[in-house]
């Protein structure tokens, strides 16, 4: 186990290093003159020089890289070129929308996908299962923006149950209002990602039903349902857990588009805005924070999977 943890930690570090390198090279080297890009075509040479001075762009690139990396690990991300606000503070503030939105949609995806996926596999030939399976494929083909727009028309314009746009100005001061404004966005992402998860749960359950140990349990007197619940589903649960890292990454990214659609002041919307403002330094740090979170979640899921899956423990010995 210790060996496994060490190896996983090392690959995570290698991954973080590689990701930081890719992001740094793309955003500092590829644009040519970063100061010119930030200043825009109308900036005078003195203005460009001032930007270069302020951002430390005159320092050799490897030093710039180390400086940035050091800042990332100490939480000193500097300040935005455009607005002058602290980047770290703003990321922390916007995360208060994006993180709850991600977990809200994850909850919806799990609530939809787990029971329906198991049902669709268990009663495979029944009409509702067939309908569900078709719906699952179709839902995975729906563009998230369109799903959100349809949701707005249905729940906001016609039924008037939920707000169509925005987030309370005072944030989570009124938790109910905040949750209400996150509900439609979370439903949009949750149902689409839930469709992907549904198909996964269904095929995992199907293989569990056909697995030899489940058949053996039936031959020893378990009912089909009993054998599946007692001996089949634990394995399905473990496969789902191993998928969660990818799922959360998908939800987090889905949030970028959906935040724009619903005007939610989250990380995704901030990122899109900053790209429009050509605030490359801030984009660089935000992108790395998001990627680091996704890589770290992947590692965490691997470790948890290892801890609770007895099969992996046996393999190790």
């Amino acid at each position: 186990m210790i060996r496994f943890l060490a190896v996983r930690a090392l690959t995570l570090l290698a991954g973080l290093f590689l990701a930081s390198l890719i992001i740094f090279i793309s955003l500092r080297l590829l644009p040519g003159d970063v100061a010119q890009v930030i200043g825009g075509t109308s900036a005078s040479p003195t203005q460009v020089e001032a930007i270069r001075e302020r951002l430390g762009l005159n320092v050799p690139l490897p030093l710039q890289y180390l400086d940035w990396l050091g800042g990332v690990f100490t939480g000193q991300l500097g300040s935005s070129v455009v607005s002058g606000t602290s980047i770290a503070a703003e990321i922390a503030e916007k995360a208060q929308v994006t993180v709850p939105l991600t977990f809200y949609s994850l909850t919806i995806a799990l609530i939809v996908a787990l029971p329906l996926g198991v049902f669709a596999a268990y009663r495979r030939q029944a009409l509702p299962s067939r309908v569900l399976s078709v719906l699952g494929v179709v839902a995975a083909a729906v563009p998230a923006v369109w799903a959100g727009l349809l949701g707005i028309v249905l729940f906001s314009t016609w039924l008037g149950w939920l707000p169509s746009q925005g987030f309370p100005r005072d944030g989570w001061a009124d938790p109910l209002a905040a949750i209400r404004s996150l509900t439609l966005p979370a439903l949009t992402i949750g149902l689409i990602e839930g469709a992907v998860l549904f198909r996964f749960v269904k095929s995992a359950t199907l293989s569990a039903i056909g697995a030899e140990h489940v058949r053996t349990a039936m031959s020893r007197g378990y009912t089909r349902l009993g054998a599946l619940v007692r001996h089949g589903l634990p394995g399905v649960g473990l496969s789902v857990i191993s998928m969660l890292g990818l799922q959360i990454a998908g939800l987090l990214v889905g949030a970028v588009v959906i935040e724009q659609l619903f005007s939610l002041p989250g990380l995704g919307r901030m990122l899109v805005f900053d790209v429009g403002q050509r605030d490359l330094i801030k984009v660089q740090s935000t992108l790395f924070v998001l990627t680091a979170v996704i890589l770290a979640l992947g590692a965490l899921v691997d470790v948890v999977h290892r801890l609770i899956d007895p099969r992996l423990r046996v393999e190790e010995q």
Binding site: A19, S26, V138, V142, P143, V145, L149, S156, F200, L287
Partner: protein, 298 residues
Amino acid sequence: MSARRGGTLHHLVRSPRGAFALAVLGLLALTALVSLFWLPGNPNQSNISEAWQSPSPTHWLGTDSSGRDIASRLMAGARVTVLVVLGAAIVSGVIGLALAVVSALGPRRLREPLIILIDVLIAFPTLLLAIMLAAVFGSGLPVVVASVGIGFGVQIARVVRAELRQINAEDFILAAKAAGLSRWAILRMHLLPNTAPVFTVQLSLAMGLAILAEAGLSYLGFGAPPSVPSWGLMLEESQAFISIHPLVVLWPGITITLTVLAFYLLGDALREAMDPRLRFGGRRDGGERNDLGDRSEA
């Protein structure tokens, strides 16, 4: 070889999913082609006095907020879709195959770093990649094609790599080596043809996802420029008027969903048509279990 390929096509057309997919995608290609020469109206000409018209013989699907013909815009949008899909397929296919071959069969010293690179790039979401490229190079369709191509290229690399490793361990490869075939000849004659089913299925999935990515990116303003009619842009344009004219949002959405669905089903049908084991008996089970097979080797 040609006989087998004919067999694949034959099976593809005979399965309902395959026939549906081929019909929709054929229609897409035809529409894109026809739109180069003829459109029912001008997709870019605004005419405020004709805004929000209902469907009629002159405007098949009505007009949008600036009086532009929706049917013409949808048809012209098919060009963008075909372009993005083909571009993404070529880029992701080349990247995926190259990475897969080198990381599975290449020099030992290259393999491990490449596998870590693939893992990192897979964790790096396509959308973030697109945003990064847009920040550096500015928005546009090339950014969409490049990011989708790289993003799905590494997915394809992982799946094809696993397949290559598995086939490479089989006895007939050993026999080919014993018979004195060069490594290149084995790759060309035995390894690549045997990964073709997995590769084509992944590629058709990537093509479907490319359309969704184009829609999302164009919506965010990183994709097609406003002067080019694209399905993603049409979604974006419909949002401002959604409470007054909710129905206009239907057309681009339905079109995108149908096209993406066609690519998904094409992948499903191809998997069955190209795998002889799935063709005869145990059809559905095998087909569905393959969903898991994709992730079996990390």
